[in-house]
């Protein structure tokens, strides 16, 4: 049985001009593998991730023909049932640790909160939190444990975020642009840590990004989204054989160090693709 089964997912937001579907009929299966979702801003990739966690921001709403996580139907869970899944079985790393960590709470307390919420004792939670900080290669876990988010660099903050989301050993991690707010050199470091932990624990990963090259080098499979739809699904290794004109356009826009591609082509957008 697959870890996550999504069939015909829609996410709708009401607007002044009537409801707008920002995700339109997305379907995919996820095993214990790494799935990339790429697309431009507004393509619905982040809302897809949030809908899986049941965190579509109000007044938006999500519906699907099927949305199940290890056999559990996610569509009609009570808040209490959601709380048992979130943090413990599935979690999410967000874009910028500057905003996604609580500014007035010490890092260690935020880490421990995950475990304490799901029933761990104080001492055990502290122990696990410190070990997790070490696992994301933080050199002085005791110090970082006591620190506040503003005292950490972006890379450190994102490692803390990853530690917090993995500390309770979930089966599914959604990483929503986890490295977009970081410097390029630090991106690779953070990705390596994420890669290693996901592989070690045999988790399922949904890696959401606008960076096609990053996704293809990091994931097993890639979904390409455009205007709320999946326009193409392909193996990361077969990216060059993309058939859809939008994906081809994205690939053509990538600059190449060995080639003088000047000026870079502009991305084609065809209204027909959105249909």
């Amino acid at each position: 049985m697959s870890l996550l089964d999504v069939q015909n997912l829609y996410v709708t937001f009401p607007t002044r001009n009537g409801p707008v579907d920002v995700v339109r009929g997305v379907s995919f299966n996820l095993g214990r593998e790494r799935l990339g979702i790429v697309g431009e801003s507004g393509s619905g990739k982040s809302q897809t991730g949030r809908a899986i966690l049941g965190l579509t921001p109000p007044p938006g709403s999500a519906r699907a023909d099927q949305l199940s996580f290890e056999g559990t139907d996610l569509r009609n869970l009570t808040p209490k049932q959601w709380r048992k899944l979130r943090g413990k079985r599935m979690s999410m790393v967000m874009q910028d640790p500057k905003f996604s960590l609580n500014p007035v709470m010490a890092v260690g307390k935020q880490l421990m909160e995950v475990l304490r919420t799901h029933g761990a004792g104080r001492a055990a939670a502290k122990q696990a939190a410190l070990e997790m900080l070490e696992a994301v290669q933080i050199r002085d876990p005791e110090r970082v444990f006591r620190a506040y988010p503003h005292e950490l660099s972006g890379g450190m903050g994102q490692r803390v975020m990853i530690a917090m989301m993995l500390v309770s050993q979930p089966d599914l991690l959604i990483a929503d642009e986890p490295t977009s707010a970081l410097d390029v050199t630090i991106q690779i470091e953070v990705l390596r840590i994420l890669d290693r932990l996901v592989a070690e624990r045999g988790m399922g990963l949904i890696f959401i990004s606008h960076d096609l090259r990053l996704v293809s080098s990091f994931c097993d499979r890639v979904l390409v989204m455009y205007a709320g739809r999946v326009v193409e699904e392909l193996k990361a290794s077969e990216l060059e054989q993309a058939k859809h004109p939008y994906t081809q356009g994205l690939i053509n826009c990538l600059p190449d160090i060995d080639e003088d591609r000047h000026p870079l082509p502009v991305l084609d957008r065809d209204g027909a693709w959105a249909e």
Binding site: M94, L101, N102, E113, H118, M164
Partner: protein, 350 residues
């Protein structure tokens, strides 16, 4: 070894912090004294005339002029006034012929007691209401809280006070009327702090306590309502801001129960700016609300200041202004200190 070093450094930082705060307070206070003094000299009121009356001879006038020290240079007058202020001597009131410091010590507890009960009511009800309105944004509760706040903003306090007295005291007889205490209870206890609720409770004079309570409840509810209107509105907007932040989503992803997200995380962050809101409301209550004190015959600072002003008793006005200014400075200092306790980001600035 490391820990003692660390804690030593930390306490040194705290000492520096307190010293710099005290330095700021000293400068602010000096400024306050200068402005207060100059206002007293600039207003077109002849302090001599208010002492000797308008039928005094020139000789009497000159004598009083000299006695008041008005023939000295302004700087020297300020210096003398300053030295006196630091000795706790604010001069003598022309109206009551008592030392002003004594007068203020008598009227200020009345205002302090009323303001404190009011701010406790306003905060204890206003913050939860604001949180509730923010969580149910746009729903019925939010609309009700908004209307309640709007009425608090716009209804004149003296009218509300009179209507309250008419309804609860005159018609229903639920509470006691104007004043702080009925005469028959006044000698059941000795005023120590001047805060009658505390004095009566400490001395076990429960009959008097009940009487004091039934006097204070209406004016305190009224003033509490006014601060509630402001506090709940500010809480609502701070909470809306916090609830839209990404760390709230993080908490939801972690599986934290919604009530703990709201009351533990969002409100904990909103508490930082709320400290200032509550401190400013409290300070404005401590100025003594003249209208409320008049309607309820409350012998507080507001009434004292108005009386002094109407009788050209400038020394008393200056003394009162000084006390109010000192309260503002003190409350600001307190909220600054609370900031550093509530928000780590304001702590480590070197």
């Amino acid at each position: 070894m490391t820990t003692t070093l660390l804690s030593g450094r930390r306490s040194a930082r705290w000492i520096m912090k307190i010293l710099s705060t005290l330095g700021t307070v000293a400068v602010t206070f000096l400024g306050l004294l200068i402005v207060t003094f100059l206002i007293g000299r600039v207003v077109p009121v002849d302090p001599v005339l208010s002492v000797v009356g308008d039928r005094a001879t020139q000789a009497q006038y000159d004598a009083a002029y000299h006695a008041l020290g008005l023939d000295k240079p302004l700087i020297e007058q300020f210096w003398i006034w300053l030295v006196n202020v630091f000795h706790g001597d604010l001069g003598t009131s022309n109206l009551t012929t008592r030392p002003i410091a004594e007068d203020i010590a008598r009227v200020f507890p009345a205002t302090l007691e009323l303001a404190t009960v009011s701010i406790i009511l306003g905060t204890a009800i206003g913050i939860p209401l604001g949180v509730w309105a923010a969580v149910r944004q746009g729903k019925l509760v939010d609309q009700i809280v908004r209307v309640v706040g709007l009425v608090g903003y716009s209804a004149p306090v003296f009218w509300l006070g009179l209507m309250g007295l008419l309804l609860f005291y005159f018609k229903m007889g639920l509470i006691s009327g104007p004043g702080r205490i009925d005469l028959s209870y006044e000698y059941d206890f000795t005023p120590v702090t001047g805060l009658f609720l505390i004095d009566t409770a400490m001395q076990g004079a429960w009959g008097a306590f009940a009487n004091v309570f039934s006097h204070i409840i209406l004016p305190a509810s009224l003033l509490g309502y006014l601060s509630l209107a402001y506090i709940s509105r500010m809480t609502r907007s701070f909470m809306l801001n916090e609830l839209g932040q990404e760390y709230i989503t993080t908490a939801r992803v972690k599986g934290v129960p919604e009530w703990r997200i709201i009351w533990g995380q969002a409100l904990r962050n909103a508490a930082v700016p709320l400290v200032t809101v509550v401190a400013l409301s409290y300070a404005s209550l401590l100025e003594g609300s003249v209208l409320t004190e008049t309607v309820f015959a409350w012998p507080g600072l507001g009434q004292y200041l108005t009386n002094s002003l109407q009788n050209a008793d400038m020394n008393a006005v200056l003394g009162g202004t000084l006390v109010i200014g000192a309260i503002f400075v003190g409350l600001n200092m307190l909220s600054d200190l609370l900031y550093t306790l509530l928000d780590a980001r304001t702590r480590n600035r070197k």
